[in-house]
Chain length 473, copies 2
């Protein structure tokens, strides 16, 4: 646990950003030291809000010189505690929110150059205004920031067609722990000049350096979108429908979400305004989105073709296309409300897993058995991005149980579900990252060769150990 | 320069693969020590042809113990000398060609797991047989191998829609210099468990370890393809047409090649069977390919829409759609013959550059001036992947010059052209890599921060310096 930071050192840090951007009041710093879900709560003696890359560089240089741990933070929306200081009061939060310039939109090159603190929603809207899209879409997009998205290699529902944050990033500006600046803001699709330094920092959760700006890819805005809600009997049927959809739509298949009925049931009961798009409940649902570069008719035609094939092959029990934009919004609102709808049902033990797409049905049956073995009566709540093999596979407490008694099973339950994941060569952190939450498990269960390499990377590029200690590795 | 390898050590290496797979005869080893273009010629005391990952591991372990340099080699098609031993006779060639199993095709997950020595063409055909495509397409695909493609982060004409080798790779099996095996053969689109180790090795040209197998992405086979050949007055017109094509076709735009008339002229004069697809010559040409997931009619409709818009806006002076598969093949044969067609015109100084797409016209005018300044009368021959901002920008000798006199200008010409590239924040090696050819320039001209990081990566993961010394870094 780090020692308290000497007052004189705090003053020196504060002087770099100026007093009005160095928050030291306990009330002001508290919001930067706690996550919105209330899972993690720490302390920090100062929150530094630099206004330029040069200020970030001076901060990191001083941190290395003084051995002061730095915790970079974007919109503070991370789900694994990667953006939060520990409880020692010896870690300084570096908030990137003031680096919020969109430096350039280059339509001919199909790129936007944005600083770390640009809020995702703002970037998406800036692209929209130019007739382009920036396809990264997250539930937290109203507050999460580009720097954090890249540090966490964010995913979401559109990875299927456009890739994750890593795939959307062409170049980076990064401040190293020494205070040196790696300027690699190139707008290039092809660049084989040496080792891939960019991808060292994307997904590194701020443990190797601080991303201060990025060149990101823009795409043509689709000319038509169609959304469909299907009811199905089994995950196997959903997988077969996914094959049909992929073959029919290819890159126009921009979302293929798998949702278990219980998740929808919770959302219908607990979130006002939701309604089931079908005649009656089905065991499983698929929310499918088609985005056509041609026309609205083309999108509708493709969606109908997939729906028809699904019905004819007996895969789809019920289904409907969104007849309007309002209906489309309602489908997605229902999907997005699944997370919040779990809370009224009590405590929940969560997993963010990926397995090969072909193994999703097997994962579901084996994980269900594992959950039942750990806690008979626990209720699986499951939804996610089937096209990426990525599910949010959660277990809600049995009705009537004490929340704490159920949460005491967290490590045992995690282990049991993750054992199924590992047996299928899957990932225990598909899109949320490692942070503080999964670090111990990562170190314990990843192949020792991989862990040793990660430790060597960390020691090589952050020898003083000042960058976001206790996270990821 | 490495010392000769002791006979007893050579025997120990040979014993790992067995005598029939350790080539020591000078005639047999010579083909592994020279590149097909004859630019590089080295020597090796033995060519090891391991038959398993375990044998590769034993070889690298022994190499580290004995300090013996190892040069990994795939199909020996690299253009920058990255796959060749130096002239000392102290470097051992490790040929991966016997690791040629396609371990698995998983259609539901959309993946193929292949060993390093699988020839690209064979992998493409295996995908075709399953109704899928593996989109990496290279002139050398009949002999280049997957391991080399990944080590070089190969590009080609289809990067525009499908990405480069890096983007197509989901997982790797790598033997580290210690002989440890990093088994990361996961079939996952989303995996945020720690640092991105995969991309350390993709594009590292065998300087950090040896890729022995990979999980690669497959895509649905297009249901229709249309190819068009356009004649245009200027690169600016081509750029405007590219914008139209991107907006109209999006991900269905699978190739957009820019070709200068002189390149075509050489190909018409020197390569039998070629003919110009248009009525008469134009200063510039675009070879465009549309791949539709819908139908042949859809592909044709999109291509016609783009052509019509190009004509109406006065961007396209002449153009034709391929009326048949034979015509399509003829277009691509003409495109592929541009490389060979330069040779009969004498010596050529070559560049494999990328700049932001928007800056391509500016690059061309400034680079043309730079070439003329270095060698008045030199003839620019230029073609490449406009959609990626990647051009093969070559200078042919003035007619009648002595070849060696012209080639003496190689460093000066490279520097002049690359200075233009650097001023536009471009890349001096877009898709061919660094190898031996561009190492000195890389070290001299990349930002010192980046070079220092690359050196630290090399020292961290190959402390004994046995992996492909003298290449890349």
């Amino acid at each position: 646990m780090p020692a308290p930071v000497a007052e004189s050192v705090l003053d020196a840090f504060a002087a770099i950003v100026g007093p009005s951007h160095a928050l030291r009041d306990a009330d002001a710093t508290a919001v930067y030291a706690t996550d919105p879900r209330g899972l993690y709560s720490g302390r920090t003696p100062v929150v530094l809000r630099p206004g330029s890359t040069a200020e970030v560089a001076r901060i990191l240089k001083l941190a290395t010189e003084t051995g002061t741990p730095i915790v970079p933070q974007g919109g503070n929306t991370g789900l694994v505690g990667g953006q939060l200081p520990d409880g020692s009061g010896g870690e300084i939060v570096l908030s990137l929110g003031r680096l919020d310039r969109i430096r350039e939109i280059d339509l001919k090159s199909g790129t936007v150059t944005a600083e770390a603190g640009v809020v995702l929603q703002r970037l998406r809207e800036a692209a929209d205004r130019e007739g382009r899209i920036f396809p990264l879409a997250l539930g937290s997009q109203g507050s999460c920031q580009i720097g954090g998205n890249l540090a966490a290699n964010a995913g979401g529902a559109n990875v299927l067609a456009y890739g994750n944050a890593r795939d959307l990033c062409l170049g980076l500006e990064v401040v190293l722990p020494t205070g040196e600046v790696l300027d690699d803001l190139r707008k290039l699709r092809k660049d084989n000049t040496g080792y891939d330094l960019k991808n060292l920092f994307v997904g590194a959760e701020g443990t190797l350096g601080v991303i201060t700006a990025a060149v990101l890819r823009l795409f043509p805005a689709p000319k038509g979108r169609e959304t469909a809600w299907f009811g199905l009997a089994t995950p196997d049927d959903a997988l077969a429908l996914f094959e049909i959809a992929t073959a029919a739509a290819g890159g126009a298949l921009t979302a293929f979400e798998l949702i278990q009925h219980r998740a929808v049931d919770f959302a219908l009961r607990h979130i006002p305004g939701n309604r089931l798009p079908l005649e009656g409940p089905q065991p499983w649902y698929v929310l499918m989105e088609i985005s056509s570069g041609r026309s609205a008719d083309d999108a509708r035609g493709l969606a109908e073709e997939i729906a028809t094939a699904g019905f004819e092959r007996g895969l789809v029990a019920d289904g409907t296309l969104a007849g309007s934009l309002a209906q489309t919004d309602a489908f997605w609102r229902l999907r997005e409300s699944l997370v919040a709808a779990q809370k009224p049902e009590g405590a929940s033990i969560k997993h963010d897993i990926a397995v090969p797409v072909a193994d999703l049905p097997r994962f579901l049956s084996e994980a269900d058995r594992a959950v039942e073995a750990v806690c008979p009566g626990a209720r699986v709540v499951c939804f996610g991005h089937m096209g990426d093999g990525n599910l949010h596979y959660n277990a809600a407490q049995p009705p009537g149980w004490d929340e704490d008694a159920f949460l005491a099973l967290y490590p045992t339950m995690n282990r049991a579900v993750h054992d199924v994941v590992r047996a299928l060569s899957g990932s225990i952190s598909a899109e949320h990252g490692i942070g503080r939450m999964k670090r111990a498990e990562l170190l314990e269960t990843e192949p020792p060769v991989a862990i040793a390499m990660m430790r060597r990377l960390k020691a090589t590029f952050d020898p003083a150990g000042i960058m976001n200690p206790g996270k990821l590795i």
